[in-house]
Amino acid sequence: MEFVKPGTKIDFLGIRRSAFLLSGLLIGASIISVIFHGGLNYGIDFAGGTLVQVKFSEPTQVETIKKNLASIGLDRSLVQRFGERGENEYLIRVEKSVSDLEGLSGQIEGALQEAYGKYGVEIRRTEMVGPKVGKDLRKKGILAIVYALLGILIYISWRFKSFIYAVGAIVALAHDVMITVGAFSIANKEFTLPIVAAILTIIGYSLNDTIVVYDRIRENRRKMRRDPLAKVMNSSINETLGRTLLTSLTTLIVVVILLIFGGGVIHDFAFALMIGILAGTYSSIFVASPIILTWQERK
């Protein structure tokens, strides 16, 4: 079985202006969404606050839960259904973080037990992150992404003996990260620690794709000395196209499985990976190499 027949010759570089336009539109939409939402929607990992995951034995409503939290003055906290409808699980998020011993989660537990009975509620998870820790984690998260990019920049510059290729790869990565972050912002999903992990994985993954193409370009330039760069790039992308699509497909299979079966916490993580893999596959074909060509032509 073959997805891409040998000898396929799609002129990817010929349509690069349209591709750039599409990428530009997606990135533009991402930026506008982030601005529109007033920055990223940080989860408590980065913003600080308290989160309680509660499972009720009987079905209940978001409004009822909020009403029952009124006795401790938390009726304005964010209450969301979590997971499947039949599971009766809810997330309660409060922006405040309290560093004394009783804490907010204790109060929430008490108020809910009063309303639903001692065995009517089960506190499955509580998280409290103080503002100081949140700020630390935010800084660390950004640093991690910057360090990862730096390390990759150095490695590619060394392996391909060319700074331009490293820049091309980084542009492709930035493209993927921005689109993933944008998709998160548009879906109004929370930015948490596991999502930073997902983004770093996307960086590694997308790079994987890009390097396979670059590798082929490096090889083909030796073989096709007389041909213009555009032609070398085109045949390199075409030759690796089968592999690019296949690998993306197998990885997507598992990611989609995670998205469906992984449950609450993993769901968003898988969503980020899915967007990132799609963007990464696209960028390794339509961005990473064409951007080098455009750069070379300008000079």
Binding site: S99, G103, V133, A148, I152, R216, I257, I266
Partner: protein, 530 residues
């Protein structure tokens, strides 16, 4: 060539067996008898998010330890100055860790006295002419730093003690940065209770109740000099409401929990639990003196500024024993005895981060994670066979070995498997296939050029080699950065991803190659079915 192949096969077999041995305890449970003694018994260690438990980051308010030290020094200074006949009309602690005082007399004499007896203090300012001088003393930075470091060490030790006595299996309590303590308690069922046990300062104090002056006046705001108001929290058993009862106490602390030797839960006449205290010899002597001097007065027992009880001293008590009674249940009494035995924290702690996961949630997550791995794995395996036929099956074999290696390595390296870690394994399934895809596509290209099977396989592997290395090293860079940056769950993801990358390099570049070679050499396949 054939000899070489035999050794390669043996190597693969050896590594597989080692991985299986490490993996076995996690799958079939611990082995007993002879095998159990010689084989590793470590199960794959589950992170707090999977097995349930509590992750705490506390900050020791070390500055408070400096302040209470300065407070104690103030008392000593006052006494010593009196003995030296230096008249001090006013002495007080200001700005947390400074002492402001007024002296009457020669400044030189005072300076000499401070230099000789209290070298930890240095003069910050001195004002005033003639007889009266206003002086502010500050504590040396070096001494303050030492006190802070000591407070954090002491807090760590005390918390360790409390957790040990509480009975948690495999707790992890370690310092983080200069003033933080990281506490991981797997399998804790009542996180609130654990938190109260760990986080309370547990400063036990004995003070006299001031019955000579009016509590009513004091509550109106006229607290007499040398007195303070503290409250007793009484919970009504029926309604659960908490009442606060005020007490007017002497400010001077007669004794603290430092002189405690032991604390045990005992039961009173109506099966009401109380905590029996036993003092060390020094404490017993102090208690003897205090009770002898204050018969018929009330002695308040105070824990963390809460009055527990204030019994009347009926007679002199010389046995070195006392008891704390109050409206608490057995659990409270038990925890109270633990914190008293383990001693007070040298400074209060603040909770910076608190994550607790109930055990049922963890089980759910494991079930869902395993289900995802199995379904995802089967789909990918099937897909490879459909797409690459026999070669796909070879890649599948390598993939299964890859999974065994990752699990074995997790158990062998005593790494922690977290929820994102499971996600990392699933991701590795998808990406491990990639290396084989790269090779197979190359082999197809070589075959199209009309090369014979063995040459095509040789060419495919050697041409794909560098690409695979480059692609995996870059992913590894991201994984290593992730490990450096990550806490708990994220770190677990980095670990499985890194192990997965190394394992997939081995299985794709080496194992699947050897299988091809064996099949071709033995003549089981004559052409590459790809």
């Amino acid at each position: 060539m054939r000899r070489n192949l035999k050794w390669k096969l043996l190597l693969i077999l050896f590594i597989t067996i080692v991985a299986l041995i490490y993996l076995a305890p996690s799958v079939v449970g611990e082995m007993s008898g002879f095998l159990g003694k010689i084989l590793p018994q470590d199960k794959i260690h589950l992170g707090l998010d999977l097995q349930g438990g509590m992750h705490l980051v506390l900050e020791v308010e070390a500055q408070k330890a400096v302040e209470s030290y300065v407070e104690r020094m103030k008392g000593d200074l006052k006494e010593d100055l009196k003995r030296k006949r230096i008249y001090v009309p006013r002495i007080e602690r200001i700005n947390g860790d400074q002492i402001s005082l007024e002296i009457l007399g020669e400044k030189e004499k005072f300076d000499e006295f401070i230099n000789n007896n209290f070298p930890i203090f240095k003069e910050i300012s001195a004002e005033g002419e003639g007889k009266y001088q206003n002086i502010v003393l500050g504590i040396e930075t070096k001494q303050a730093d030492y006190l802070k470091r000591y407070a954090v060490e002491q807090a760590l030790e005390t918390i360790r003690n409390r957790v040990d006595q509480f009975g948690v299996t495999e707790p992890d309590i370690s310092p983080q940065g200069s003033d933080r303590i990281l506490i991981q308690l797997p399998g804790i069922k009542d996180p609130q209770r654990a938190l109260r046990l760990i986080g309370r300062t547990a400063l036990l104090e004995f003070r006299l109740v001031d019955d000579e002056r009016s509590l009513q006046e004091a509550l109106k705001g006229n607290v007499p000099k040398g007195d303070i108001i503290l409250y007793q929290r009484r919970q009504e058993p029926e309604t659960g409401r908490v009442n606060k009862v005020p007490f007017l106490l002497k400010e001077k602390t007669l004794m603290t929990g430092e002189v405690l030797k032991d604390a045990q839960v005992r039961f009173g006449d109506f099966n009401q639990p109380y905590v029996a205290l036993e003092f060390d010899p020094r404490g017993a002597k102090m208690f003897d003196r205090i009770t002898a001097k204050n018969v018929r007065k009330r002695l308040a027992i105070i824990l963390d500024s809460n009055v527990y009880s204030a019994p009347v001293i009926q007679e002199r008590i010389s046995g070195g024993r006392a008891q704390i009674t109050g409206t608490f249940d057995l659990k409270d009494a038990h925890d109270l005895a633990i914190v008293l035995r383990a001693g007070a924290l040298p400074a209060p702690v603040k909770i910076l981060e608190n994550r607790s996961v109930g055990p049922s949630l963890g089980r759910d997550l494991i079930d869902k994670g395993l289900k995802s791995i199995i379904i995802g794995g089967i789909l990918v395996v099937l897909f490879m066979v459909v797409y690459y036929k026999i070669s796909g099956a070879i890649a599948d074999l390598a993939l299964i070995l890859n999974l065994i290696l990752i699990m074995g390595a997790l158990a062998g390296l005593r790494a922690t498997l977290t929820l994102p870690g499971i996600a990392g394994i699933i991701l590795t399934i998808g990406m491990a296939v990639d290396a084989n895809v790269l090779i197979f596509e190359r082999i197809r290209e070589e075959l199209r050029l009309g090369k014979p099977p063995r040459a095509a396989i040789d060419g495919g592997y050697s041409k794909a080699f560098l690409t695979i290395i480059d692609a995996n090293v870059t992913t590894l860079i991201a994984a290593v950065v992730l490990f450096q940056f990550g806490t708990g769950p994220v770190k677990g993801f980095a670990v499985t991803l890194s192990i997965g990358i190394v394992a997939s390099l081995f299985t794709a570049l080496f194992v699947s190659r050897v299988i091809f070679d064996v099949l071709l050499t033995k003549g089981i396949i004559r052409r590459v079915n790809i």
